[in-house]
């Protein structure tokens, strides 16, 4: 008897980003990065100006990944990280680990986040089914 082979399918990041971006009117941006800071795919609402300059986006991803890496140092005590929020005056940044990558989402600040998070989790869970 041979062992069952695990079939690993890479997510369709383009479609996931599109679904997340369009799941709620307050979502500004959705993107996936790997642990080498490479953006696998990202999408932004057409009518919005980016709040960060090109080099600042790289810096922001770096800070996010650094924080994520350091947070994983407590996995052995606290379990896996599921979600982070950083609310600035002008934008809210949400990160959700997904399949060894990091989903970055930005939304308008000071809104009700629960429906957005539920919708995003539903989109990610649907892909896994």
């Amino acid at each position: 008897m041979g062992m069952a082979e695990e079939i690993i399918t890479e997510p369709n990041y383009e479609k996931l980003c599109s679904n997340i971006l369009n799941c709620n009117e307050h979502v500004r941006f959705a993107g996936f990065v790997n642990d080498k800071s490479q953006i696998l795919h990202s999408a932004q609402k057409d009518n919005l100006d980016s709040l960060l300059a090109e080099n600042e986006i790289g810096m922001s991803i770096h800070y996010t990944l650094e924080r994520w890496r350091k947070a994983q140092n407590f996995t052995f005590r606290l379990g896996k990280e599921r979600l982070t929020f950083t609310e600035y005056d002008n934008v809210t940044l949400v990160t959700i680990p997904f399949k060894g990558k990091l989903l970055l989402v930005s939304t308008e600040p000071r809104i009700h986040y629960d429906p957005i998070i539920e919708k995003i989790n539903s989109i990610l869970t649907d892909w896994e089914k």
Binding site: K36, S37, Q38, G58, M59, I61, H62, K70, Q72, N73, T75, F76
Partner: protein, 273 residues
């Protein structure tokens, strides 16, 4: 175990530091490339772990170590204690040991005059910092090349010291001191590494031949690398050792563990993973 004191801590990153231990009775004789077992108390027991010595055996004031605080999947017990220790804390140590030392003679008994190439991955650089300082301080005439691989530029822990040793080689002339140092950064696309314009990729790729049939190492030393003119010393994760041997096996290099019937070999290594 003997007693000593933590006499210096330099934090390079949150998870990388240089530590010095001053033994109560002075630094004993040891060989460049050896390791030392350190011990600290934890819950009424002593926790021990071995670390490669980065200081030269000619330095009789202290032992020096470069240590990474790995915390995944679990943090190491002694390393966690060290990263929470303060200068002045007492520490115990056992006598230096280890076989990743410089070969001065060939199996035939003749003097080994081959070029020394050291490949260190991450904190696997430590024994070669000891090598380089010792070979320098003892006026060794062999050509010495130290190659250091790291993920990020702020992990190039001994860049200043090794650059100074290379500059000294340029100033004195190769006939007096023949030393070269190069580093490779494996994640060049990351923001931290944006200013890096040196070698990019894994450190063992210094041995990979280009389209013209020459490796970056061969371009650096100016001749073809053969088992008759070069002795390799490698320290790092098993992946670094395996990657290095992938290139060297094709050139008929053999490791100390698989030495030929006549006792000859050209690669000595130590892995920590």
């Amino acid at each position: 175990m003997e007693n000593g004191t933590i006499s210096y801590i330099q934090s390079l990153r949150e998870d990388l530091g240089i530590f010095r231990v001053t033994p109560d009775g002075g630094v004993p004789d040891f060989k460049a490339g050896q390791f030392l077992t350190l011990g600290l108390p934890l819950e009424s027991k002593i926790v021990n772990r071995a670390y490669s010595i980065a200081s030269s055996p000619d330095n009789k004031k202290f032992f020096e170590f470069v240590i990474r605080w790995v915390r995944r999947p679990l943090p190491g017990r002694l390393t966690s204690l060290l990263f929470n220790a303060k200068v002045g804390d007492k520490i115990s140590w056992a006598k230096p040991a280890g076989n990743l030392t410089i070969n001065d003679t060939l199996p035939s008994g003749e003097k080994d005059t081959r070029r020394i190439v050291c490949i260190g991955g991450g904190t696997g650089l430590a024994p070669f910092v000891s090598f380089a300082q010792h070979l320098h301080d003892t006026n060794d005439k062999r050509e010495v090349v130290v190659l250091h691989g790291a993920s990020y530029v702020d992990e190039l822990s001994y860049k200043q010291l090794l650059t100074d040793l290379e500059n000294d080689s340029i100033d004195k002339g190769k006939d007096k001191w023949n030393f070269k140092y190069r580093a490779a950064i494996s994640r060049p696309e990351e923001w931290t590494n944006r200013a890096w314009n040196g070698h990019k990729g894994r450190i063992e790729q210094f041995l990979r031949s280009n389209d013209a049939g020459k490796s970056p190492l061969e371009e650096l030393v100016g001749e073809k690398i053969t088992k008759d003119n070069t002795m390799f010393y490698v320290c790092g994760w098993q992946g670094t050792i395996d990657g290095t041997m992938d290139y060297l096996k094709n050139k008929n290099f053999v490791t100390e563990k698989n030495k030929r019937d006549d006792g000859s070999y050209e690669v000595k290594f130590e892995s920590y993973g």
